[in-house]
Symmetry: C2
Subunit: 448 residues, 2 copies
């Protein structure tokens, strides 16, 4: 459709009743129909009748082709010159322009980190018998023993892109890399709660521990999440108020100065830039606890439990989809990761190169540089992923292989065979067998 110049009246289209128009780089878009489909919910209405730029500067998730494509479907015109100039003068500058530079290897989809001064930082704790506690960073470090764990954090939407192939989901098109593993050090949440009066009387009333970040989005809302009380206070829960990552202060992107690390639990509950802890009889009221990160489609959001532990997961990291492997020696190496929620240890990974008909058992290890294998974790406290590797024989005359992996954890839970039966609108808990198609080349062999 032709894009006609539209005058400054676009500002009137700022509600669902009058239609929702927004502008972006001089274009005008009628997104009324899209509002209900927006992954971020009603927040999209903040831009109604105005420019998208200031919001997209904050919500960097929008900075990708996929989002621009969706937007382009709704284009209805371009701004007239007068409106365009007027608007340009009012669009605010990037408020985070003075922030530390992020590592260039990182794909950044979150807001830029809030700047927290370690000297004035306070962690507040509510809901314990002694009233509100306020702890400085140095108090947190000095009053409680430092505890260290290695834990994998997985985004609820890891491998969402595979669900997108079944049917469009609402959310960013994540591949297999929305997962990480690090060594975290900090005070145990259990120790902190016990030292400020947590006891059986509190446990009889409270059922959850809520966390609130110091980050604020454009609406002024802090990020929030909660975990079950028993995970927070159990000696075997290993929940940390972490101030170190891999032996150094937390980097700004990872929650400096303090974040929660809830091992075995979906990343969304591992709140960064932690400002407040509330022991409560209720879950966090936040959008992310109540209306997002649930494993079914929105019609079941009320009855569905908020995702805490995630199910058994594995993925192939090498070779990559669509690559050509040289198989002149008739063997190929397949590598990947495997992890399960709730501290359940990965006990086996099987790999197939014929699409799942026959399987080979992969070798498991705990890190890339394994000189001294780590002792096995106590039952139920295997928080870190396992890396796995296998050399598989390549059949003669094979031109294309479908490589598949699947894992089993210590509760003998397995991954589902296929994606479609676990599809859900937000594209979370995507953990079907991971499949990679590769071509087989024999170049080197022929040249010898």
């Amino acid at each position: 459709s032709p894009t006609l110049p539209t005058n400054k009246n676009f500002t009137k289209h700022c509600s669902l009743e009058s239609g929702v128009w927004v502008t972006y780089k001089g274009g005008v878009y009628d997104i009324t129909e899209f509002v209900a489909m927006h992954p971020g919910g009603n927040k999209i209405l903040l831009a109604a009748g105005g420019a998208l730029e200031p919001y997209w500067a904050l919500y960097a998730v929008h900075q990708q082709d996929h989002v621009l494509e969706i937007l382009s479907e709704y284009k209805i015109g371009v701004l007239d010159t007068e409106s365009c100039q007027k608007q340009e003068s009012t669009i605010p500058l990037d408020p985070y322009s003075a922030e530390p530079t992020r590592h260039p290897a990182l794909q950044i989809n979150s807001l830029k980190p809030p700047r927290v001064d370690p000297e004035t930082y306070r962690l507040e704790i509510e809901g314990l018998p002694g009233g509100v506690v306020s702890l400085s960073l140095s108090e947190l470090k000095s009053r409680f023993p430092k505890h260290t764990i290695t834990a994998t954090l997985q985004f609820a939407g890891n491998r969402r892109s595979e669900m997108n192939k079944v049917k469009q989901v609402k959310g960013l098109n994540w591949g297999i890399a929305a997962i990480s593993n690090a060594t975290w050090s900090g005070a145990r949440l259990r120790d902190v709660l016990l030292s400020y009066g947590f006891g059986p009387e509190v446990a009889a009333k409270a059922k959850h521990v809520q966390f609130e970040g110091l980050d604020r989005d454009v609406t002024g809302t802090a990020y929030g999440a909660s975990i079950p009380l028993n995970k927070a206070v159990s000696e075997e829960g290993d929940v940390l108020l972490a101030y170190e990552m891999n032996g150094e202060d937390l980097p700004p992107d990872h929650g400096y100065p303090v974040r929660v690390v809830v091992p075995g639990v979906v990343r969304a509950r591992n709140v960064k830039w932690l400002g407040k802890i509330v022991v409560s009889d209720e879950e966090s009221k936040s959008h992310w606890q109540q209306n997002d990160y649930k494993g079914f489609s929105p019609e079941d959001f009320k009855s569905a439990p908020a995702i805490q532990e995630l199910p058994i997961q594995s993925a192939i990291t090498h070779p990559a989809e669509g690559t050509s492997g040289d198989c002149s020696d008739r063997e190929g190496t397949v590598k990947g990761y495997a992890w399960s929620g709730g501290g359940r240890e990965v006990v086996r990974v099987d790999v197939s190169i014929d699409g799942g008909k026959t399987w080979h058992v992969a070798k498991l290890h705990t890190s890339d540089q394994e000189q001294h294998p780590a002792p096995p974790p106590p039952p139920g406290r295997a928080w870190a992923w396992k890396l796995w590797e296998i050399d598989v024989p390549i059949p003669h005359r094979a031109q294309e292989l479908e490589i598949v992996c699947k894992a089993v954890d210590s509760s003998y839970n397995t991954q589902p065979d296929t994606v479609a039966p676990i599809w859900n609108l937000r594209g979370v808990r995507s953990n079907a067998w991971h499949r990679v198609q590769v071509k087989v080349s024999e170049g080197l062999k022929d040249q010898k």
Copy 2:
């Protein structure tokens, strides 16, 4: 092959070197080749060179057509009259002939229960600082608070028959009914261990709690199993030394006077007729802990963890496979159970009547007679199954339906789609989607 009379020399064939011959009801069988395939392992050699009858009288698992069929393949002859008469005079009578009658509805595959006198019963506990403890039944009941839980116990080989259809497994051909749910009362194992000196020093050395039954098989071996120490002593583990089942003394078949109930853990660790508890740095050395009830095939028995928690499970109990449903009202009711190990609550069951293409969400409840719904269990302590039910619309002109169910637990673990990828030689942890084929009749509608 013809069966020739064989003389009394059959007694010489009593080893793998000389061949293993056994007799059964006057027939002679060369089972040398079968020894390696015997689910009960080397115990089969006890009968070598002699009669099977006394062993089969004790191991009632053999009393079925399936076993006789296997045996018949190995027939090499019949006993001559003299040998036959001589043998009959020496075959012992059923040593359990004076036992209480079992309920006629029960399919019995286990040994008859040992008779334990409650007056002289002692429970011994080893591995705690105070030396060996010996507790009478009345001491167990009076010294420790009575704790009650409702828990589902599932046999590791439940639904094994579906694996048998993929490829023959070693084990009885169990359908979907090797699972039960009951309310158990007894002393908490945690309370007992703590009262006899269990503490951090013990925990630093010991990793397991072993159980030994008072039952003895024909070799004089007691049944044995173990569980991880943290399950045994955790406040949230709810492990019971149970002396009541559904409000009454344990029935003989269920372990009178005392059995272990380890909720969330495979039935094999819930030792009946409990005689001894050992806190140890090692797992039970028993056959059932070391060489059986592992979820992979025997080549991996060393590295595979002994099954403790079982994975998410569900099955259709109504309608039954192969039945005809009257669908004159174009709706049919489907019912079943769902359960997950480790105290993970079943949060959803989906039912399909088109083989898994489209799904309906079933209604969950905790019992058949649900007047006052039970309060939800604390996180991680959902020990009881859920029953589920749904009325599904029957498509017009449908003649046959493939009904399928699948469940999701609170960790968002799901059942695998198909059986073949989880097949293992012992046929354990069979938890793929359950499928039932039924015919649709419209008899009543036509008659109206």
